[in-house]
């Protein structure tokens, strides 16, 4: 097995900008983080904070419509410098992705069998029969009843939860080492959300697969993740182990998120509850993007962006007054 402390993926200063109508929109603003083999990293933030674009930038989907800069090291190679053709060998085979909307993420005109098998065809030497057998095995693995009779069915013949399972089966077809999961349960019924999360976690464990789990649900993070990265207006404002960050948040934004969650922290708590709204990404303030909503904000916050700095305990936070907040929380 791979060494648990070794980083599979190293994201460094990832920046994605969109240029439209003469305006520059910085959806992802210099984020850096690592993903270790087999771990589950939660990426949390309000809607529009750049989570999806971050994932899409990592596997080279975002560069079709935006400018992506920085480095994304995968096993020592920088994915951002690779051509689409080179990336084809990584995508779907070493790094897979699943999307938020099971209703629109499967091709409505192709059978689910074909949509699984085309992944196998691209990444394995299996022949037709073996691909079919593997497709049945995969559908079975993600908990789709009478899998062999469903290969010929089309996506619209499955319910939302079942489609999400199909998407997982497709993503896992070639045993990836990393799964980028973009809010995989947000669109589903509450009862089904749990089933899908449990399925993802147990598969990740069985296959020793790491997951970057995007969510805006702190309850999900508490239940499922090893480490968490909190994103605000395109930047990471706090990273660390779930235990430390949820217990002793260092950044006012994280603190606000946690305070807004009731005591026992039930799952499915959306992050709308911090007062105010995030700034428009094409008109970011000069200083800390959180300042307009921050009760701690002072002059320095308006003039200078706080960098993400390591505080010890494996926690990093981006706030000029981290130390004070630390005291306040500990007090």
């Amino acid at each position: 097995m791979t060494n648990q402390n070794e980083s599979l993926l190293q994201v460094r200063d990832l920046t994605t900008t969109f240029h439209s109508k003469g305006r520059v929109l910085r959806a992802v603003d210099g984020i850096s983080f690592d993903v270790r083999a087999g771990e589950v990293l939660g990426l949390v933030g309000e809607s529009g904070s750049g989570k999806s674009i971050s994932l899409r930038s990592i596997i080279g989907l975002a560069r079709d419509y935006g400018t992506v800069e920085g480095n994304v090291y995968w096993k020592g190679e920088d994915l951002l410098t690779q051509t689409d053709k080179q990336l084809q060998c990584v995508r779907g085979s070493q790094i897979s992705m699943i999307f938020q909307e099971p209703m629109t993420s499967l091709n409505p005109l192709l059978t689910v069998g074909l949509q699984i098998e085309e992944n196998l065809k691209a990444h394995t030497d299996l022949d037709r029969r073996a691909r079919k057998a593997r497709a049945i095995e995969l559908l079975d693995m993600v908990g789709i009843p009478s899998a062999s009779s469903r290969l010929k069915d089309f996506p619209h013949q499955f319910s939302g939860g079942m489609r999400q399972r199909v998407m997982i089966a497709i993503a896992l077809a070639s045993n990836p080492e990393l799964l980028l999961a973009d809010e995989p349960t947000t669109a589903l019924d509450v009862t089904i959300q749990d089933q899908i999360l449990q399925l993802l976690l147990s598969l990740a464990k069985d296959l020793n697969m790491a997951i970057v789990l995007v969510t805006h649900d702190l309850g999900v993070v508490a239940q499922t993740c090893d480490r968490v990265a909190v994103m605000y207006a395109g930047r990471l404002v706090e990273t660390g182990s779930v235990r430390d960050v949820l217990k002793r948040p260092q950044h006012p934004y994280t603190l606000g998120l946690l305070k807004s969650v009731p005591e026992n922290m039930p799952p499915r708590t959306p992050l709308y509850s911090v007062p105010g709204t995030p700034p428009a990404l094409d008109a970011l303030p000069k200083g800390c993007a959180f300042a307009p909503r921050c009760h701690k904000a002072e002059d320095v916050c308006l003039g200078t962006k706080p960098p993400l700095s390591v505080l010890g305990d494996g926690i990093s936070s981006a706030c000029h007054f981290t130390a004070d907040i630390r005291e306040e929380v500990l007090a």
Partner: protein, 313 residues
């Protein structure tokens, strides 16, 4: 099973259309002032000939019975005699159907061949130089009247350069291709502009769709993504539009076939109208209606074949 019932239900839908066209044609002649028998006959017809027509049309009986006779005669293939050509209407029409069908199909094929690849190139270079060049090129095709383009082609390619004949149909398949090249191209320039515009925006939309992003995240090759995932989905809306424009295109044959002296149904219709040849006008109207209905049926079938949600709902 459900595919079959879809086809049957779609076929049954043609019947009301067909009946409606029959009613319109029927009333057309009856609404003319004076005796319908005179309208349906040669100007030099004798009283005995007129009486024969009156009997066949049941003109002395109630309107409902007259309509019944009309439908019965038509279904048994008796659509009267063309005043202009002095031959049974059905015979005259059957003789010309292949010409117009060939021309239409030819124009459709050319449209697809022109519009398909260019739409893809334009969509993949969205707002780039190529895209703008392609779109402006087609804009000319859209904003110029069909017969004007036809005349230009005739003047340069047929009359001056003598690359193509100025009219006719020929006898062998290759001759058909050669003779009908200019009229088909004329029509195709217009149709392909419509198809190009629609397919381009469909491709742009589909390229952005979640399922295409997902397909890309699976590491599929570009050709599989474009051919399997993008093309088929983009085609769905374009096929509908193509079906509709074939309907348009058929009424366009009146002009095209006349400009290019093609002996098809369109030119015949124009001649029939000028000669007030009512039996022939009736027969041709019905023929066009049936042909357009069949095209729509075929369009729906292609769509059901493309889209399982229609087939298996």
């Amino acid at each position: 099973m459900s595919s079959l019932s879809y086809l049957v239900s779609r076929l049954l839908q043609i019947i009301p259309t067909f009946l409606l066209v029959m009613v319109v044609i029927f009333l057309l002649v009856r609404m003319l002032p004076g005796d319908p028998a005179i309208a349906m006959a040669d100007a030099k017809a004798t009283e005995a000939q007129l009486e024969l027509i009156r009997q066949k049309l049941g003109l002395n009986e109630p309107l409902v019975m007259q309509f019944f006779y009309f439908v019965k005669n038509t279904l048994s293939g008796d659509m009267g005699t063309s005043i202009l050509l002095k031959a049974p209407v059905l015979e005259v029409i059957i003789e010309r159907i292949p010409v117009t069908a060939f021309l239409t199909l030819y124009a459709v094929c050319l449209s697809i061949l022109i519009a398909g690849p260019l739409a893809f190139v334009a969509a993949l270079n969205k707002n780039g130089g190529l895209d703008i060049a392609i779109r402006s090129g087609f804009q000319v095709g859209l904003s110029t009247p069909v017969f004007y383009i036809g005349l230009l082609l005739l003047t340069f390619l047929a009359a001056s350069l003598r690359l193509f004949p100025v009219g006719g149909y020929g006898t062998t398949f290759l001759q058909h291709l050669h003779h009908l090249m200019l009229p088909a191209l004329t029509v195709a320039l217009y149709t392909s502009a419509i198809i190009m515009r629609n397919l381009r925006s469909a491709v742009i939309e589909v390229l952005d769709a979640d399922y295409v992003q997902f397909a890309r995240s699976k590491g599929l090759s570009r050709s599989v993504i474009l051919g399997r995932h993008v093309l088929r989905n983009a085609m769905i809306s374009t096929v509908t539009l193509l079906g509709l424009s074939i309907g348009n295109l058929m009424s366009g044959t009146l002009v095209t076939e006349t400009v290019f002296a093609v002996p098809g149904l369109g030119r015949l219709m124009l001649e029939a109208i000028f000669a007030r040849d009512y039996p022939l006008i009736q027969g041709l109207t019905l023929t066009f209606a049936v042909m357009v209905s069949l095209v729509f049926l075929f369009t729906d079938m292609v769509q059901a074949w493309l889209d399982p949600r229609l087939r298996l709902s």
